[in-house]
Symmetry: C2
Subunit: 351 residues, 2 copies
């Protein structure tokens, strides 16, 4: 709507502004740092940050100790609530931007879950030729967000639709449907169970296996078999995706963890024979059954991610489980990593 601030300058510094004549102090909290704003004679607070690292950043303003969203920017659902977000562009990078290629639609779909007793919502990407090619059937990637995010994250922050539009236009990926559900689910009387490793991790898995997949297969033109179904996710969603996929090999033949694995935040060594119900005990059998196990992370991810993912990889290697590992140079636990992950993973699917 023509807001002048926040404004990204050519050197990727960012100018923030907010009118707050009566405030005593205002900071911008972005990329893990706080930048103090200064008030002019009109009661308007300003700061221009130094160069900010490229990518999508959640941020907040701190007004007299109250953490608030910036009225000048759009909100994205992250950190458990609607949070301000800003995109510092990567010069010369366009694989996640809208290009003059055919575009798929992203459908907002509501459904009633008997398992949770609530109305839920998923986002569904259909590829560009879905409507013009009315007898074609498509494989499906189930793609999960991270902690504190929801079913909107992969579209509004991740640009999954644009990444696939571009890959499909270049014939690097086959046309596919992508289903993005909320990873949060709890049974009506039960505790809230976001973590996939806890004792209550069954509600989301049940929603996915018993409700979402049958709904998608019965209402969209899918190829409803394991060879045409993948599940992936980021961080908490990586844990969920790998737990669900490895325990439902009749349903999924492809799987990926972006900046996350089945051991969650633990860096402890993993016993291949007993961990995760023994799914990796027989590496050769796993390799024969699973068409692709894909893992990725950014080179700059903080603790405990390198250690936790490292422990999982060590277990896989000991078990002789084949997997692809993708390393995103210079990026952390953030959407730039996960966009690159999807851009590498999606072309390997359903071929």
């Amino acid at each position: 709507m023509g807001a002048q601030f926040p404004r990204i300058l050519p050197d990727h510094s960012v100018a923030f502004r907010i009118k707050a004549p009566e405030a005593k102090s205002v900071d911008v909290d972005i990329t893990g740092k706080k930048f103090a704003m200064t008030k002019d004679s009109g009661g308007v607070w300003n700061v221009t940050t130094p160069h900010l690292v490229e990518g999508f950043h959640y941020y907040a303003l701190d007004v007299d100790g109250v953490r608030v969203n910036d009225p000048g920017s759009h909100a994205f659902f992250g950190t458990g609530k609607d949070a301000s977000g800003i995109e510092v562009p990567e010069d010369g990078v366009d694989y996640y931007l809208p290009e003059e290629v055919p575009h798929g639609d992203v459908r907002i779909r509501i459904y009633h879950s008997k398992i949770t007793g609530q109305w839920r919502r998923c986002f569904v990407y259909t590829p560009p030729d879905y409507d013009s090619n009315p007898t074609a059937r498509y494989p499906v990637l189930y793609l999960q967000h991270g902690m504190g995010e929801d079913e909107t994250g992969w579209i509004f922050q991740g640009h999954a639709n644009l990444i696939l539009d571009n890959l499909i236009a270049e014939k690097k990926a086959v046309p596919m449907i992508i289903v993005m559900d909320s990873g949060y689910a709890s049974r009506p009387a039960g505790p809230f169970s976001p973590a996939s490793t806890g004792p209550d991790f069954t509600a989301f898995q049940d929603v996915m296996i018993k409700e979402v997949i049958p709904m998608i297969d019965s209402t969209l033109r899918t190829v409803p078999d394991r060879d045409h179904r993948a599940m992936a996710g980021l961080s908490m969603g990586a844990n969920q995706a790998l737990q669900i996929a490895t325990h439902n090999l009749d349903t999924f033949a492809y799987m990926a963890g972006f900046s996350g694995t089945m051991n969650g935040l633990s860096t402890d060594p993993i016993d291949r024979d007993t961990a995760f119900g023994g799914v990796f005990k027989d590496g050769a059998a796993f390799n024969q059954r699973v068409k692709l196990l894909w893992l990725g992370m950014g080179t700059e991810e903080p603790k405990p991610f390198p250690g936790a993912i490292g422990a999982f990889r060590a277990m896989l290697e000991k078990a002789g489980v084949k997997y692809v590992f993708f390393s995103s140079p210079g990026t952390s636990h953030e959407w730039l990593t996960w966009r690159r992950d999807l851009n590498d993973f999606a072309p390997r699917l359903f071929k």
Copy 2:
């Protein structure tokens, strides 16, 4: 995500809470009133309002003079930015709530506009049987938001999809596609032109007639003729819808203004012979050509709406133009009025 506040109490008073230990004053600004919050010893500010009028309300918190969103609630695009919103339920009213009926999808679609030189986005509702009935073709309602809102408003605030799901399930309305575009458009070098009566009101009309409608007709299973096309809008969008529809009678046979008409905010008498390019000069010819002209407003709308809409109606009556007038009891210039409008208007379409 389980936020406890804001909390709507059984008597429709609302409890707000925010932690702000260092703030000097915090108010809640809702339904045109400010409610002062009081700070407890832990630095948490609280207020419980009296009973609030039913319906959807934008609101804000005022922290030491800075207008901010409530971290505890979802944001909706309104008032020109992401704004906090809350829904005070209408007891016993369910026509805009999700029910156990078949649901249509809402598609997020991006497209490049040659007219504006920019990427734009529209939301498209497809009715529940769109995917299961692959040879059926559908009529289309083009439905516009109001000033400061965007293409998301009719879904997230208006619940247009749920209203149609329910009407279609009850066989009160025929299955139809609804296209919701942004009413804001400007040519690359031109001024921003939101108002539909100004000299620059051509960019949005051109986007609608030359880009959106051809795109929809070429990619979805529509019946691409005037008898199966309607245009409606609310407030600023009413002005746009009626301007566009009356000046493109080869394209539209149905039209509606919700809380708005072609004379905008003017309450001056209107000359039927010369106003609006003379489209109402020959009332009999208009009646023969137009299948439905529908107007509606709430009984509690503030000035200038009653006067402006009244002046438009007086002109129509003088010209002998037939129209339906719907009055929403007890509601103002707000989403409750517009939901009721759609619920009355949609069943009259395409029959």
